[in-house]
Every structure is written in C-alpha cells, then in structure tokens.
C-alpha cells in the first residue's frame, strides 16, 4: 500500500506508523525531517510543482516496493511556510524484516531529496531571503543506490 500526502498540514508520526504497521510485517522504519535551527533562520517557505510532486513521490515509493519486500510505504511532505522545529517530511516503511524497512526508508529519503520537485527558501532573522542550494552530499547519497 502506498500513501502519499503533499500539503500544508502537519502529520502525526504515531498515526502514520500505526497505519503502516496495520498493513502487516512487524518491522516499521520511519524518518522525520524538521526545520533545523541554524542560528539565524526565521522561517522556511516550501514551494513545489503540484502537477509533478505526487507523481515523483509515487515513482520513488513504487521503486522501493519493487526493490524491497515491503507491506506499506507512506510519504508525507509539507509545503508552504514553516517555522524552526516544524515537521517537513515523514517517510514510513513496513516490512517483515528490519533491514528492508530501514534501507528502503533511507532510499526513499535520498531519492526524494534529489528528485521530488520541492524548493526551500529561507528567511533569516535579519529579513533576508535565500533559496537553498543543492548539496553535493545529497547527490552522492542518491547516486549510491544506482546499480
């Protein structure tokens, strides 16, 4: 079962993991990404490409389901204006085996970071704005899954 949610609303990791666990298995891995305080960040604006986002996330989830023995994949990604400490992204995977659950969760995050059409714009405490740039480490993390 694949569940993809993209929108402004916050998520509840308890509810989402329980839903994935309910699909069977017994091994549930999850990852939460939050707005990190780098010392002078006031807020973060997440823009996306609505017509493509669902499609891109679904393709990532389907690839995960074809590569690992999973019962369920949930991806939630927020858009709009977020504050320091707010949730941004949640990935939950359910499997019979912890290795499959954890690895596929890691794969989904790495792919999402380099493929899903989201862009972050930071507003600093001094009022200046800045579009976040792609990080080489994210590109490398995503490429390591290519065989």
């Amino acid at each position: 079962m694949i569940k993809i949610v993209v929108g402004p609303d916050d998520f509840d990791i308890g509810v989402e993991t329980q839903q994935v666990a309910g699909q069977g298995g017994g091994a549930i891995a999850s990852f939460v990404g939050q707005v990190r305080d780098d010392g002078n960040l006031a807020s973060l604006e997440l823009e996306h490409y609505p017509a493509m986002t669902q499609k891109a996330l679904r393709q990532i989830a389907e690839t995960a389901l074809s590569e690992w023995a999973l019962h369920a994949v949930t991806i939630v990604h927020r858009v709009g204006k977020l504050a320091v400490g707010d949730n941004i992204v949640l990935v939950v995977t359910g499997s019979d085996h912890r290795g499959a659950a954890i690895e596929s969760c890691s794969f989904i995050m790495d792919r999402l970071k380099t493929v899903a059409p989201f862009w972050k714009k930071e507003t600093g405490t001094d009022g200046t704005t800045k579009w976040i740039e792609e990080r080489e480490s994210d590109v490398a993390a995503s490429e390591k899954w290519q065989k």
């Binding site: 990404g33 997440l46 823009e47 996306h48 490409y49 017509a51 493509m52 499609k55 891109a56 990604h77 941004i88 992204v89 995050m109 999402l112 970071k113 380099t114 493929v115 899903a116 059409p117 989201f118 862009w119 972050k120 714009k121 579009w131 976040i132 740039e133 792609e134």
Partner: protein, 87 residues
C-alpha cells in the same frame, strides 16, 4: 513541428523572471528542450543570465525529467527549475 508549449518556472527562476508561466509557439527548428532554452537565452541579458548555464537548471517535460537533448515531441508542458531541495 509547430504548436504551442506551456513553460512553467519555479523557485529562483520564477522569481528572477517575475512570471510563473508563459505560452510559447514552437517555431520550426525547435526540437529539443535545449532548443527552447537557447531561445529563452537569446531574449536579452537578463534571460541569458538565467538560462545560459543549463547545468544550473533542471527540466521536466509533462512532469517527467528531461535533458537538453530530450525532444519536445507532443509534450504540452515544460517546467524549468533549479535543482530540488526538499526533504
């Protein structure tokens, strides 16, 4: 090949252009994503600044990633944006 294509911009590309999309006519000789980008780049110095370095841009044709060499074919929407930074 003639027809029209909707071009849609995101993030700093959108901000610097001041528009989020535009409809363009596909003149003869415009076959690939790269041809479109070259055409945009030719519009003036501001456009050249944004579009001349394709390495800084990513492209999606009807919501699938494409490269400068990717043919436009019958696609209806070309998105041009910086590398993604979600998650």
């Amino acid at each position: 090949m003639t027809g029209s294509l909707n071009i849609i911009y995101f993030a700093w590309v959108r901000e610097r252009l001041g528009i989020d999309q535009e409809q363009i006519a596909l003149a003869d000789g415009i076959e690939t994503i790269g041809d479109i980008v070259a055409m945009l780049s030719d519009r003036g110095a501001d456009y050249a600044d944004i579009f001349s370095d394709v390495g800084k841009l990513r492209f999606a044709l009807d919501q699938d990633y494409g490269l400068p060499a990717t043919p436009i074919g019958a696609a209806r929407e070309l998105a041009i944006f910086p590398p993604v930074t979600g998650g």
